[in-house]
Symmetry: C2
Subunit: 186 residues, 2 copies
């Protein structure tokens, strides 16, 4: 039984439920059936735990992206990435919410720029490649990335609050809209 993982999982859940403030370290330890002091053996401070949860979730997401890399065209790769992200988010709502909460909190400033780049660069490079090979409109890659990321986010939000909707269909439609928006028209 990996206590570190257990603590991270428990913290994740409680932080999303009650916020960083609303979650005492003692509560996390108790919920994880671990002694108070044990938590501080794995994480020197509460802040360190908050960051560890973020890194863990982001790494899991990154792993999913690697799997989305197909040998096919850029369109196919982007579509797979889009679909996988949305499906993953729907299956991992709490993790998705945690990342959101973390990103829009002041804790984000504690993450080194290089660490953040690690997660963004693969996407950015794919988009750059698409621009260079005339598949994607000749705009700033960072801008295209933002639009792509936020379209993804928007669809996830929509499906969170409209769960009965045909998810596959929505994902298919919205990707097509997105692709038509950023693709280079002949």
């Amino acid at each position: 039984m990996d206590k570190r993982k257990l603590l991270i999982d428990t913290a994740l859940k409680l932080f999303v439920e009650n916020g960083f403030h609303g979650t005492a370290t003692a509560k996390i330890a108790k919920e994880a059936n671990v002694a108070n002091g044990t938590l501080f053996q794995y994480f020197k401070t509460k802040e360190e735990l908050i960051i560890a949860v973020f890194i863990t979730v982001k790494s899991e997401m990154a792993g999913m992206f690697i799997k989305s890399q197909t040998e096919k065209s850029i369109t196919d790769t982007l579509k797979t990435q889009f679909t996988n992200t949305v499906v993953w988010a729907l299956k991992n709502r709490v993790k998705f919410q945690y990342v959101q909460q973390f990103y829009s909190s002041p804790y984000i400033h504690l993450i080194k720029q290089t660490e953040l780049k690690k997660y963004i660069d693969p996407h950015l490079n794919l988009i750059k490649e698409g621009i260079e090979t005339n598949k994607i409109k000749d705009l700033d890659a960072a801008l295209i990335y933002q639009l792509f990321a936020n379209q993804t986010f928007g669809v996830v939000q929509y499906l969170f609050s409209n769960q009965k909707k045909k998810q596959t269909e929505v994902i298919e439609t919205t990707f097509q809209l997105l692709w038509d928006m950023i693709k280079k028209s002949k």
Copy 2:
């Protein structure tokens, strides 16, 4: 000197800088040059203050939207709304960030659904009108709204981190992309 407004402004700034947890009520009072107890005369609890800040900012945003309502076509109105929102966000970064932080925190659950609807409905109705008059693609209005909102958000994020870029040009370009995405093609 309106102490309520002063406290809300100060709280806004400190909450974005240090988070809800990281900001003691005493710090807010001190920074606002007001006695500790005075804060609790205007807001019964810290939570009430956190919510008051949210409502205040959202109302300000809503006021801006009303001004965006032109007598022109739906396209023009949507474009004005898009532009005004982005420009407002750039000028009011802290307020924009506060809303983000609040939305992705558990405090959002304390806001009544009717209150949230109040902010969304005007947009939703405009989109519905666009769909009915065959200007906008025949998709769920809530979905179009999400895509619209998130495109806006994406552009703001992009311009936050790329401030040297030609803002007007970026706004113009991205609105065109967005409009092409949601408009009904003949």
